[in-house]
């Protein structure tokens, strides 16, 4: 069966007493339920279902400080507690596996190499909110993740971890593996809901929030794959143990997808608060920059997050440190580019993506991303005109905060940040009708 060649630090994680998400991801047998159980799998689900009350599960996860790993960083336990206790409607849990933020490739590894960990985390979350039918929404191109998850779900049913009267508790839990249509917007939770209902993937106005009216207008919780895969460890070892990892405000570990101009791109699980410079340069992780060139910039949390310049990369990878540095932890996708990279070229790549992925519902985002691409493309092609930077800033200002979902903001923030950090280079490009640095990345 297919096995993604992506590098991980599984060996380091196996040696560590605390890191846990990647412990078995280099073991090809881990996808099988027998191996997963031998490695302690489904213990947490059994413990939660047979010895805890739903409220206790929520409290433990709240206490652990586990925050959403999909991008927003919202505390998972708190999100679960928003489910109305007295609602007579069915409740739904959805695992968001529509991984498509450029730079992010971590959820795919978890689903392909440790699918039962995702199912177990989902089961615990489902029980906590009183859900009996849960979904994993996987982006349509991830055929191998879909196959792996489907095979794992089948095994989980056969072994009695899912289905009717799980562990004789009287609790029924069913699971559906759903394949999406490859739209970035469907990673936004309200667009995901529409998509799962068979509609076009367009975001919904909030309120009502999904916890009140989500899938089929019923209370719904949507969590990222990595968030849910962390839950069994919180339940097994307790919130106090979980909090010994990471920082006070960002407890736990996190997978960082490191890509771009580094010698060892890969997925690395480290404690939150890990130093970004170390992640890029340490031989155990990124191993430094290709050709030993200098770093020009880093996108620390997926293509939607503002840039860090070379002098800003001695920063800790946690929610609060990156916010302080003017950026965001986002999905933990660290994209590195070196000194021979034209910033206008980078931005053109990004805005093209957002224009393509804009769902078209809100005018500022639909029209604005198109205008931005046109202006940025003409600058990159050496046809920029005086005033283009100001026009870009004006369009950005009219998108930011004026759309239903955060896609508009996501398109704008890197552009604004690039102009802030490299305004001279933008101006050079317009004045001299060419790149300041010779960008041309050859495929060999």
């Amino acid at each position: 069966m297919f096995y993604s060649p992506v590098i991980t630090n599984a060996a380091e994680v196996a040696q560590s007493e605390k890191l846990h998400l990647f412990r078995y991801v280099e073991d090809p047998e881990q996808v099988k339920i027998g191996t997963y159980e031998t490695h302690g799998g489904y213990k947490a689900w059994k413990k939660a279902l047979t010895s805890m009350k739903p409220g206790e599960v929520i409290d433990e996860v709240k206490k652990s400080g586990l925050r959403g790993r999909g991008g927003a960083g919202f505390p998972a336990g708190m999100k679960w507690s928003f489910i109305p206790k007295d609602s007579p409607k069915p409740r739904y849990l959805i695992c968001n596996a529509d991984e498509s933020e450029p730079g992010t490739c971590k959820d795919r590894v978890l689903m392909e190499r440790d699918p039962h960990a995702v199912i177990e985390g989902m089961a615990i979350a489902a029980f906590a909110i009183g859900c009996h039918l849960m979904f994993v929404y996987i982006r349509g191109e991830f055929n191998h993740s879909i196959d792996r998850m489907q095979a794992a779900v089948k095994e989980a049913y056969e072994k009695g971890h899912l289905g009717k009267n799980v562990y004789g508790s009287g609790y029924d839990l069913n699971m559906v593996v759903h394949s999406g249509g490859g739209a970035y917007i469907c990673g936004e939770e309200t667009a995901l809901l529409n998509s799962l209902e068979g509609e076009r993937g367009m975001s919904r106005i909030r309120p009502p929030f999904p916890a009140i009216e989500g899938l089929y207008a019923c209370p719904t919780i949507i969590n990222n794959v990595e968030t849910l895969a962390s839950v069994p460890h919180v339940i097994n070892h307790g919130a106090d143990w979980y909090k010994t990892l990471g920082t006070e405000k960002s407890p736990g570990s996190k997978i960082f997808s490191l890509s771009g101009h580094v010698k060892r791109p890969g997925n690395y699980e480290v404690e939150l608060g890990f130093n970004l410079k170390k992640l890029i340069y340490d031989p155990a992780y990124g191993g430094g920059i290709l050709g030993d060139k200098k770093v020009k910039g880093v996108i620390p949390g997926g293509s939607s997050t503002p840039f860090l310049t070379a002098d800003m990369i001695d920063v800790n990878l946690d929610y609060e440190s990156l916010t302080e540095a003017g950026s965001m932890l986002g999905s933990g996708a660290v994209i590195v580019f070196h000194e021979d990279t034209c910033i206008v070229w980078v931005i053109l790549k990004l805005i093209h993506f957002y224009r393509h992925e804009s769902c078209g519902k809100c005018t500022p985002c639909r029209e604005g991303t198109g205008w931005l691409e046109q202006i940025i493309r003409r600058i990159e092609q050496g046809k920029g005109i005086p005033g283009d930077i100001e026009m870009i800033e004006d369009v950005c200002g009219n998108i930011l905060g004026r759309t239903i979902c955060p896609l508009g903001d996501a398109a704008v923030m890197p552009i604004q940040s690039s102009i802030k950090h490299w305004r001279d280079e933008w101006q050079y490009h317009i004045d001299n009708k060419k790149c300041l640095v010779n960008t041309g990345f050859e495929f060999k």
């Binding site: 297919f2 993604s4 060649p5 992506v6 069915p90 991984e99 498509s100 933020e101 450029p102 730079g103 992010t104 490739c105 959820d107 795919r108 039918l133 349509g140 191109e141 991830f142 055929n143 191998h144 559906v176 759903h178 394949s179 999406g180 249509g181 490859g182 739209a183 970035y184 998509s195 799962l196 209902e197 068979g198 509609e199 076009r200 993937g201 089929y216 997808s257 490191l258 890509s259 771009g260 101009h261 791109p265 997925n267 996108i299 293509s303 996708a333 994209i335 580019f337 990279t341 980078v346 790549k349 990004l350 993506f353 393509h356 992925e357 041309g440 990345f441 050859e442 495929f443 060999k444």
Partner: protein, 158 residues
């Protein structure tokens, strides 16, 4: 009928999993796409009958999702990611290399109807860039040598 018995069975199985039939639209479109290679009105009409959802609602959803080609493509749909992580490692020149090897431009299909070359948005393979997806399969950490080998194998298969 365009959809074969296997596809129809798979689609019917999916419908039973959801509280509402409409939720089976995307999985049904995916099953149809994997069999046919693209989607069109005739496919929507067949799906409409199988899952008992009006044709217009199938078409409405399908036309939103660019993952599904809406016109006939070659037997092998070569989709090259051209977003930032892949571009930093030469995705643009990978596209040029493929154009040269296949003797077509981006968006075109070879005369023998074997290959269609397109660029796509991020496929979540950023730490194994550059990459391309051919039909259902990912090909990662690409080099010229690897691309040559993959194309040769597919040509030999026909």
């Amino acid at each position: 009928m365009i959809l074969n018995d296997d596809s129809v069975t798979l689609i019917k199985e999916r419908v039973g999993l959801y509280p509402r039939h409409k939720s089976a639209i995307l999985p049904a479109l995916t099953i149809a796409y994997h069999q046919v290679g693209h989607l069109n009105d005739d496919v929507y009409k067949e799906i409409s009958k199988i899952i008992k959802v009006p044709y217009v609602e199938i078409a409405e959803a399908a036309t939103f999702y660019t993952m599904f080609p809406k016109e006939s493509v070659g037997k092998y749909l070569v989709q090259v990611c051209h977003n930032i992580s892949c571009a930093l490692l030469g995705a643009d020149s990978l596209v040029e290399y493929l154009e040269q090897k296949l003797d077509i431009k981006k968006g075109e299909t070879t005369k023998d109807n074997l290959f269609t070359l397109v660029t796509v948005e991020c496929l979540g393979s950023c730490a194994t860039a550059p990459m391309m997806q051919i039909n259902q399969d990912y090909h990662e950490n690409l080099t010229c040598e690897k691309v040559d080998r993959i194309l040769e194998e597919l040509r030999a298969k026909g």
